[in-house]
């Protein structure tokens, strides 16, 4: 058969490699900054743009979408071409993909800094950027599938199965989680409310971990690890089993982020059971990776690339065991809302995603630049610093999680919380936060050593933008040969059919949780006394969203005695039916606020307290690490938008009376003036239109609508008298 001549596109790969390196530095730098902020609030710099609440989404998004995202595209585009013996489908699409993705990252950085955020974790981007992201993602898929369709190889290799699952999975997750009603170019409300929004968001959040941080990297592992070790894949059959079981089971496990929270029990149980069932499929990837290295362990000793891969794959195995364990309810009550989760994600992020990316960079970049790595020694130095920094990160935070949890649930012999002031438990763990800064600086140092090493490598070589290659044209093999071709083997050459089955496997888990949550009413038992937010409270809520308060404060109380004694009655599903978006949070760096407005509860503070606290938290509690929000007293709520917001809420089903949008501003000012008058009694002068007033109104709305005594027989704890 005659060979066809074609050219690999190395330029696109090079661009994505450079973007990975540059954004990686930014992502880690912002990580170090927010680590400093948690230990020393002065690092919030007293500016609204640099507070933790806005920088934390910047860090997570920069790591996930900028650093890891670009690494995925570089790794996929290089291996895809080699595995399919074909140039990328379209140079134009490649170009739009690259520059579109970088534009999204820049827009994300700018909007988060300005406080433009949906508050849904890892999906904080507002709707215009969501749409842009969808378009660029589809271009990526189009480019990839186009390349697959014009391949010169009969079957698609395991790595490509994972790439396809990545594309389809993320597309499905992103689109479903981003249904939102825009009210302006920079503000929207999700169409889901409360518990529904929580289920959709954590179906997304959990599977963003799956299909952005796991499946693409398993695909990369299947290519780069055997390439670097020059060993065959240990088990083709294991590849098949763990691929299908993993992509099917993952989509069900999202509710493990919401255990003991205001969610139907059957949904929580799906989160628990499917997480446990994920252990073996996840380990399948680790085992296939590590067993592929049999006979190559002597190479591991010398090669920084393989060392990074080994640590990455091992950390992947640890994290995918730890994750299911954290999904067991009794373990989750400790790991959730504490630093355990933070340590867990950083082992996965720094060791698995970081390690795979670093290994890939050290292997791939010299090949693209047709030279040798500048210094193997520096790469090994980077390896040891990075590995050590992960330990310095994780161990203190595990320690911190256990310490804080034990303190939070400790009772005195008389039956009172031993540490009733939340701040005491935080002050206790602050030294661990200082250690985390050291870890961050170490990791950053290693990273910079890599940057130096790679730039030296680039300077020594040059890229062949279009690398010549040849291969015979693909003659499609036609019908399945039942005797010597398994169904899977046949599917591997029927790529469209393969993709459809992947999509079916992905679709089921989410559908079974989300559709009943939205359409079956008994899943959301309503409570008559719960009323919609007043216009002023709604404005305050939007400030809460804008400032990212949810990054440190939860708004959901779990049914544990040590939580209800501290925060008030535990949260009920029906309390959140008007919450677009839900704001339950995932880490309590500060106390829970679900009942901050319940007048007779332990969390209630009066208006003057809130005013002084926002102005200067350290004045109220010397050891508080909350940033000051003194601009609340200066900035005005935009009253022009208020009627729009009411109308949007009406569209989403919030039962404001008809025509209420016209009265919204009057209603807002009336309520604001009451708070202004109350503050005046304490000698505080403020105009009614300031954000401060709206925030106080919102704080006083939280959890107010439910009287524990009217609530079945669950009030036994409130009879301390």
């Amino acid at each position: 058969m005659e060979n066809q001549k074609f050219y690999y596109d190395n330029k696109t790969v090079k661009l994505f490699l450079l973007a990975t390196i540059i954004w990686g530095v930014v992502a880690v730098l912002v990580g170090v900054l927010i680590a400093c902020q948690l230990a020393f609030p002065a690092f919030n710099f007293g500016l609204e743009y640099t507070t933790f609440g806005r920088m934390r989404p910047l860090h997570t998004n920069a790591v996930i979408f900028a650093f890891v995202g670009n690494a995925i595209f570089a790794g996929v585009y290089y291996s895809l071409q080699k595995l399919l013996k074909a140039r990328l489908f379209s140079d134009v699409l490649s170009k739009i993909h690259f520059w579109g993705w970088q534009l999204i990252i820049v827009l994300a950085a700018v909007t988060f800094t300005l406080g433009i955020s949906t508050s849904k974790e890892y999906a904080e981007l507002e709707w215009p950027i969501d749409i842009l992201l969808t378009v660029v993602w589809v271009i990526f898929g189009w480019n990839m599938i186009g390349t697959i369709l014009k391949r010169r190889v009969q079957h698609i290799y395991a790595a490509i199965w994972w790439y396809l699952a990545t594309f389809l999975g993320v597309a499905l997750l992103h689109v479903v989680n981003s249904f939102e009603l825009p009210i302006s170019l920079i503000k929207s409300y999700p169409i889901y409310a409360g518990a529904q929004d929580a289920v959709v968001q954590w179906w997304y959040g959990h599977n963003a971990v799956a299909f952005f941080l796991t499946t693409p990297f398993l695909g990369l592992m299947y290519y780069y690890l055997p390439k670097a070790a020059n060993r065959p894949i240990y088990s083709y059959r294991l590849s098949i089993i763990h691929f299908w079981s993993l992509i099917f089971l993952y989509m069900w496990a999202g509710p493990h982020h919401l255990l003991y929270q205001a969610l139907p029990e059957w949904v929580q149980a799906l989160g628990v059971t499917f997480s446990i069932m994920l252990i073996a499929p996840s380990w399948g990837g680790m085992i296939n990776g590590l067993l592929t290295l049999r006979g190559a362990w002597d190479k591991v000793r010398d090669s920084a690339v393989l060392k990074f891969f080994v640590v990455a794959v091992t950390a992947y195995g640890m994290s995918t065991f730890e994750g299911p364990m954290m999904s067991l309810r009794n373990v989750n009550q400790m790991t959730h809302f504490t630093d355990w989760t933070i340590a867990h994600t950083h082992i996965a992020g720094m060791a698995w995603n970081g390690g795979m990316t670093f290994g890939m960079l050290y292997w791939l970049l010299p090949r693209i630049f047709r030279t040798k790595l500048y210094s193997e020694k520096l790469a090994n130095t980077h390896f040891w610093i990075a590995t050590l920094s992960i330990l310095v990160y994780a161990i203190p935070l595990y320690w911190s999680a256990v310490t804080q949890w034990l303190m939070l649930r400790e009772y005195t012999p008389e039956g009172f919380l031993a540490y009733p002031n939340f701040l005491e438990t935080l002050t206790q763990i602050l030294p661990m936060y200082t250690l985390r800064i050291i870890s961050g600086i170490m990791f950053l140092t290693g990273f910079l050593i890599m940057v130096y090493n790679l730039f030296k490598t680039m300077a020594a070589g040059s890229v062949e933008a279009n690398e010549a290659a040849e291969a015979p044209a693909l003659v499609l093999a036609g019908k399945r040969k039942p005797l010597n071709e398994t169904i899977h083997r046949w599917m591997e050459r029927k790529t469209v059919r393969f993709s459809i089955w992947v999509f079916v496997a992905l679709f089921i888990g989410g559908a079974i949780q989300i559709i009943p949550m939205i359409f079956i009413k008994s899943n959301i038992p309503t409570i008559d006394t719960v009323t919609p937010y007043t216009p002023l409270e709604l404005e305050g809520r939007d400030v809460y969203v804008k400032e990212g308060c949810y990054t440190c404060h939860s708004q959901v109380i779990r049914p544990f005695r040590w939580e209800t004694d501290r925060y008030g009655d535990y949260s009920k599903i029906g309390e959140f039916v008007y919450d677009h978006p839900f704001l339950w949070g995932s880490r309590r760096t500060g106390p829970d606020l679900a009942r901050a407005g319940y007048v007779n509860g332990p969390m209630y503070k009066n208006s003057a307290w809130h005013y002084n606290h926002f102005m200067d938290p350290q004045k109220m509690n010397e050891q508080s690490i909350m940033p000051r929000y003194d601009w609340f007293a200066k900035k005005d709520v935009n009253l022009d938008m208020t009627p729009n917001k009411i109308r949007a809420m009406q569209t989403l089903g919030v039962p404001y009376p008809e025509g209420f949008d016209e009265q919204a501003v009057d209603d807002l000012l009336w309520q604001a003036n009451q708070i202004v008058a109350e503050l005046k009694l304490s000698g505080i002068e403020i105009e009614p239109t300031k954000e401060m007033v709206a925030m106080i109104a919102y704080m006083h709305k939280l959890g107010r609508d439910i009287e524990p005594n009217t609530n079945q027989n669950l009030d036994s704890h409130d009879t301390g008298e």
């Binding site: 149980a269 499917f274 446990i276 209630y604 509690n621 301390g720």
Partner: protein
């Protein structure tokens, strides 16, 4: 292990950019693990839902709360039996509770009062002059006016100490003291 049979047989035609694949079966233990976890899932669902044996979270909370009540017997003493302490060590402890509970946020470091809460060092009181009144307002609060109830956070004994500390502040005349509020006491 079983996979030693036919070990490392290369699969024909499986060659992707030089990467080959072996025809090894998955290690048996990983498959066993997979089946065990599936079994766990079924048992879990049966235990909590189909057989209705396990307590769901609401019921569990009620049960746990009952255990808690019996263990600690939270029934308080009547405040009539509680009198002001004058022992220096108790007053000192009251002072540390005052700090620990961030009372200073609303009443000042020395009890001088601030924009939020009243002066606790003068001879005027908003909710009554005697020890029992002070004890009661700390315990039960007046949430609408901004005083947090501390009954779920502090034991009677600790409220007694912090109340005693407050009464000891009388005539301490701290700087920046807030003006009088409430009834004047003898």
């Amino acid at each position: 292990m079983e996979e030693n049979k036919n070990v490392d047989e290369h699969l024909d035609e499986h060659n992707y950019d030089g990467i080959q694949e072996l025809d090894n079966p998955p290690p048996r233990w990983i498959m066993m693990l997979f089946y065990i976890t599936i079994g766990f899932a079924i048992i879990y669902a049966a235990y909590f839902f189909w057989l209705d044996v396990g307590d769901l979270q609401d019921a569990r909370y009620v049960k746990k709360s009952e255990i808690h009540e019996t263990r600690y017997q939270l029934a308080s003493q009547s405040s009539d039996e509680i009198v002001a302490l004058t022992d220096a060590a108790d007053i000192e402890e009251g002072k540390s509770i005052y700090k620990e509970m961030s009372c200073f946020a609303c009443h000042g470091m020395l009890g001088e009062g601030n924009a939020i809460g009243p002066n606790l060092c003068d001879d005027t009181w908003l909710y009554g002059c005697d020890f029992q009144s002070v004890f009661n307002i700390i315990k039960n609060g007046n949430a609408a006016k901004g005083m947090t109830p501390f009954k779920t956070q502090l034991s009677d004994a600790r409220i007694q100490k912090v109340s005693s500390y407050l009464l000891s502040l009388k005539d301490s005349k701290p700087p920046n003291a807030k003006g009088p509020q409430g009834e004047t006491c003898e």
